[in-house]
Subunit: 327 residues, 3 copies
């Protein structure tokens, strides 16, 4: 679809969150279709996890987003979908890859939302594809178990914070979950949640560096808990790490089922977003260093640095592989 | 209501689809109200057909759209509504007719969606009005039967198409039908469908001529099949004909009831949109000729030419009638 | 959240209606949460009244709106909420108070929408706070009874009105109430209604003075009647009074439950909006005097003048109090 003014920031760059929402919608459609393709129990695919994704080039207002999705692996109870997004300038015809994402869905029964339905297996062209998919499946399963533990953190307001401290840029918003945010089952679309998360992360990044900022990448996001229609969700973000030209922001989503349910507020999702600051010509600008004050902030900064260096190393290894393959 | 940035293209012209959506909403309201005006079965009017409509002058961001609707004919099971749209520049006070449309609605029972309720008859000021309405009713009924046949076509992707061929500009989008797209009965508003159709047709036109384009007219659209909440709809468009200064685009809407229903994908709507290309001063520009390659493309081009010449002849006849009447 | 192009007029000023909608959403969340905080009947808070609010400084596209809400008084069956809105320019860090509003909510049972649930009492820091709250409670109760009477007025179309008469600028719009406009109970959010009212009032003001206009204040609004999903609402506005630099517009909301219900059209809400006209530099401009023609128009003009002078006197008294307190 064509990108509209409301999809973009003032500089005309489409929000990463808008793109994540389109990706998730495409993934939900293809996996729901697949899971209903055999005469079984009617079901709706719910987003369980999004793998790390990089935003390779910004999309602009007036461009057309081309989204394509493909099922790349199925386990007994989950579907792996690969989604590619291309931006197309329909006036010049120029096309660019915006990003590629891998999503995991779980089919939930339409009749009983707590029941996971069996997934029809797909056919693989080569045996290796199945083996590689299985490896990816095991890896993400492990990672999901791990993140389930570290979810106790809360962001507290800070009075009169100094510029470039964590408290200075931290932000939160609340959103009442309405019918248009939800699937047929009455749960929030994963894409809606990701769009709100990107909105908060973007406010944190802009408050910190006071320039035009864009989403550079999103770390793997796990959706442990469904969020029901009528909940209030609180999305909070704080900066955890800065390199010379990038900022890492941690975002939490807490759901508050305050009507018609006997549950406490709970942590539904958390994730790391990376932003860069862009000049008017679209070149990355240096960002102010984050000032850490407490022990916790220093620890999170070091952890962020670890993720940053790991990603950098992975990317270099990939580039060397590609160069080796081309020789 | 006031036209907003999201209602318009980059040049500030309001999308034809936004206007079609407003027209349909007005028509649905007046005909639903009429069909519930007597103590009968509660019902909701569903769009069955829109007659050909011309966009006489473009509307711009910040202008106010004035929509007025009137019931002009009732048969036993259908209602004809005439809707007029005026654009008003509230700063200068200037008003222009944007377009006029005729829509046909069928009242469906709120309790049983497959039951068509009886329509209370309206009073006519003169007997001729009833006779003319009846003639229009018979004509559209015939046309609806005809289009029901020619609905088997599918648009296939083309690899590396040459500029200005049919494959070069053809486009499609998918949309998951959510609650805010639907009526009280859980079916997609006709206006929502037309807005998506106009969006795809606009992308096809812009890809072909790479300039600012606007909707000039829409041929009669028949809504043979309802589309239910939860469906995925695929809207595809291809260029069928070009004159010196206009492009005709055929648009298909296919619905895919992939959850909770044992139906195959089906063709819900199809229609022809005509676009013109505008210079910065708002003058029509010449458009590149469409290059037809296959036999089918050549046949469709000739059919499009037929429609083009027929419309042109009708318009000239009307102008002569008007001139004769003025003398 | 960040203000988007669709939230604002062509000059980039955010619509008062968008701000009212955010205020009401915050109020609905905090009061629904409070009323469900004790193990009682699940309920949803419905807006009963908004006190008069002044828009102290305009908000612009790209700024972040910070909305904070606090419960300030509870009676047995109602909750008073104080909501503050700050606009923040995230690039410069500048913050300004946009407006403060006081809202009254009534908790309705989720199981039986006609039953008002009991409100858990709040704790007051000082006894005076409770007494002042009780005084405000009694005052608004009285005012709600009064407005319930004067609701019979209807706005009729005028043919060829003269510039600057009442008929010249009067306006109305219709809106079909869809699922995304509604609460869990299936009734329109008060904030949605206020946004539409501001839209109509803004069109009336722009038609009258043909310049860039912004909402300056909104008088107390009472929500006597709920509006159900599927209704058509007609929002109409007419100018009642002009001072040298402000315009007062009266807005009516009529609901038409034309499907599935045996009710007549009824007046759901009415309110007075005050607008000012701004130059390109954001300075207030003189507005053309309203030309009154009929006896009713003259009476309404005098009543409007009364409200204007009363507000002016109140504001001066407050300023003197503040000056006295500072000395």
């Amino acid at each position: 679809r064509i990108m509209r003014p409301d999809d973009a920031n003032i500089a005309g760059n489409v929000h990463g969150g808008t793109i994540l929402k389109m990706i998730e919608e495409a993934g939900a459609i293809i996996s729901t279709r697949h899971c209903n393709s055999q005469a079984g129990e009617p079901c709706v695919a719910a987003l369980a996890r999004v793998e790390r994704t990089d935003f390779l080039s910004p999309m602009c207002i007036g461009e057309v987003a081309n989204v394509s999705a493909e099922i790349t692996y199925t386990s007994r109870h989950s579907v792996e979908v690969q989604v590619n997004v291309m931006s197309e300038n329909i006036l010049t015809g120029a096309k660019k890859v915006t990003n590629k994402a891998t999503l995991w869905y779980v089919p939930l029964s339409l009749k009983n939302v707590n029941k996971v339905v069996e997934v029809p297996p797909i056919q693989y062209a080569r045996k290796e594809q199945e083996d590689e998919g299985k490896k990816r499946y095991e890896e993400q399963k492990l990672d999901r178990l791990e993140t389930k533990q570290r979810n106790g953190d809360v962001i507290l307001p800070v009075i009169n914070p100094e510029p470039h401290t964590v408290g200075y840029s931290q932000s939160s918003l609340i959103h009442l979950v309405g019918p248009s945010d939800c699937t047929l089952l009455g749960f929030v679309h994963g894409g809606v949640t990701m769009k709100l998360m990107d909105e908060v992360a973007g406010i944190v990044a802009a408050r910190h560096c006071k320039t035009n900022i864009v989403t550079a990448s999103v770390d793997a996001i796990n959706f442990h808990e469904k969020i029901k229609k009528g909940c209030v969700i609180t999305v909070s973000g704080r900066m955890t790490f800065t390199s010379n030209k990038s900022m890492e922001i941690e975002v939490f989503v807490d759901a508050d089922p305050f009507v018609d349910e006997p549950r406490e507020r709970y942590r539904a999702v958390s994730a790391f977003f990376t932003y860069v600051s862009l000049s008017k010509e679209g070149k990355p600008l240096p960002v102010p260093q984050l000032l850490t004050e407490t022990e916790d902030e220093k620890r999170r900064f070091e952890e962020g640095k670890g993720r940053y260096l790991q990603t950098k190393a992975k990317r270099q290894a990939q580039m060397q592989q590609q160069q080796a393959a081309q020789q």
